[in-house]
């Protein structure tokens, strides 16, 4: 029965609907508005809690992140899909993750939060969406010309378990609250649901996102590339249910100005999300998907996660991240540098598709 349900689009629409509903409920339970779940923001908060940056308002060990990784691990283990692999241009993936974070903190949200913002009536997210789609289209241009980061390889078992184990360790730290961790007492970092609610929601999302491969970037990519609407239907379901949820709780507010944890600089919202869209396509998935893959034993995705973590630390140490007041001058420079570096990565890894000739294996991706 479960298989049938998840074979077609029902499963992913259900998953999208659940993510949307959970995102709204998490806000009711204490998360910042339009931020029930945001992979970029929450990784940034974790970087803060670990003292990797000193922005006092965004420091908290977000159990949602831990839950998503562990949920994905459980589902992958249960379905015998867990496997340690990696080695597909790890440092390149780290750098891509880094700049995806720089772009996301310019816009103030990962692609998932972009949908949540749209569903809350924040029209600034339309500029973000336009940028995201543009970035994806640029990425597809390179994919069609043979962009790839080479093959991955099977790795020792422990390599795959390390990241989920690290997440368990992080959760233990959260419960133990040693003095060396930083927890915001004001600002977005201080707004959060009870630990178990956050963890439970994260676990649910991780379980289902692993099963359905839910991915924001993949949805638009597959539509353009293969006329396949499978992943996109999850994306749309999130939007529809978040919109209804916000209307239900009377938290829907249409407009550009004074939106929660957002700024109204259209150009930089656009450019920031180009960087996120383009980087995500080159990585093979949005930040949420990278988390899920990390939970499945894919250490290439872990490299992207580490890139995002360090990117978040840089963003707040060097005043790159935007605030409600608008983009930061340093952030604009960082986004432009990011676009140049991502362009270089795209160009240097695009080799022209070499496919097999007559009856022979000739894919040279090694």
């Amino acid at each position: 029965m479960k298989n049938g349900f998840f074979e077609g689009k029902k499963g992913i629409v259900f998953t999208g609907a659940l993510v949307g509903i959970l995102a709204v409920l998490l806000v009711q339970a204490g998360s910042p508005q339009n931020m029930g779940m945001c992979i970029a923001c929450f990784i940034r908060d974790i970087a803060g809690a670990l003292g990797l940056h000193q922005a006092a308002v965004v420091q908290y060990v977000r159990p949602e992140i831990i839950g998503i990784v562990l949920g994905a691990s459980l589902m992958a283990l249960g379905r015998r899909e867990f496997g340690a692999k990696g080695g597909s241009s790890p440092l390149t993936r780290f750098v891509l993750g880094f700049f995806v974070m720089i772009g996301a903190l310019m816009f103030l949200g990962c692609p998932l939060r972009m949908i949540l913002r749209l569903g809350g009536g924040d029209l600034n997210a339309l500029f973000g969406l336009a940028g995201f789609v543009t970035g994806i289209i640029i990425g597809i241009f390179f994919l069609n010309r043979g962009f790839n980061l080479k093959r991955n390889y099977k790795l020792p078992k422990l390599e795959g378990y390390l990241f989920p184990l690290l997440m368990i360790g992080l959760f233990v730290l959260l419960i133990a609250r040693p003095a060396f961790l930083y927890f915001s007492t004001k600002g977005p970092g201080s707004l959060h649901p009870a630990i178990w609610i956050s963890l439970g929601a994260g676990l649910l999302v991780g379980l289902l996102a692993q099963r359905t491969r839910l991915c924001m970037a993949g949805g638009i990519r597959d539509l353009i590339l293969f006329k396949d609407t499978y992943l996109l239907s999850g994306f749309l379901a999130i939007f529809v249910f978040v919109t209804f949820g916000n209307l239900f709780f009377d938290t829907y507010k249409v407009g550009l100005l004074e939106q929660p944890i957002a700024h109204a600089d259209g150009l930089w919202n656009f450019l920031g999300m180009i960087l996120v869209g383009w980087g995500s396509i080159l990585l093979g998935g949005c930040p949420l998907r990278q988390l899920v893959l990390s939970g499945e034993g894919n250490t290439d995705a872990v490299m992207a996660f580490l890139g995002m973590l360090v990117g978040a630390a840089f963003a707040h140490n060097f005043a790159l991240a935007s605030s409600a007041a608008g983009p930061a001058a340093n952030g604009k420079i960082a986004v432009l540098i990011g676009l140049v570096i991502v362009a270089l990565i795209a160009y240097c890894n695009t080799e022209g598709l070499k496919i097999a000739k007559e009856g022979e294996v000739k894919v040279e991706a090694n």
């Binding site: 790839n148 293969f226 007559e358 991706a365």
Partner: protein
């Protein structure tokens, strides 16, 4: 029959390679794949494109036979 090897490649490259290969040999082909996500995605893509697909499990990988 023409065969392509997409083992170790991450999505969407396996699907792109399958698509390009099918453009060159529209009668069908075999795809060697080791990633379950890639396998599912290739199967979905070739079905949308009007092909039938049969999968055979081999050592730590799958051989997909794609036919009209």
């Amino acid at each position: 029959m023409k065969q392509i090897d997409v083992r170790g490649l991450s999505c969407p490259q396996p699907v792109i390679l399958t698509k390009k290969a099918l453009e060159e040999s529209p009668e069908g082909l075999e795809v060697l794949v080791d990633d379950l996500t890639a396998k599912t995605n290739i199967e979905r893509f070739v079905k949308i494109s009007g092909y039938q697909v049969e999968s055979k499990e081999e050592e730590e990988s799958f051989l997909l036979k794609v036919r009209r």
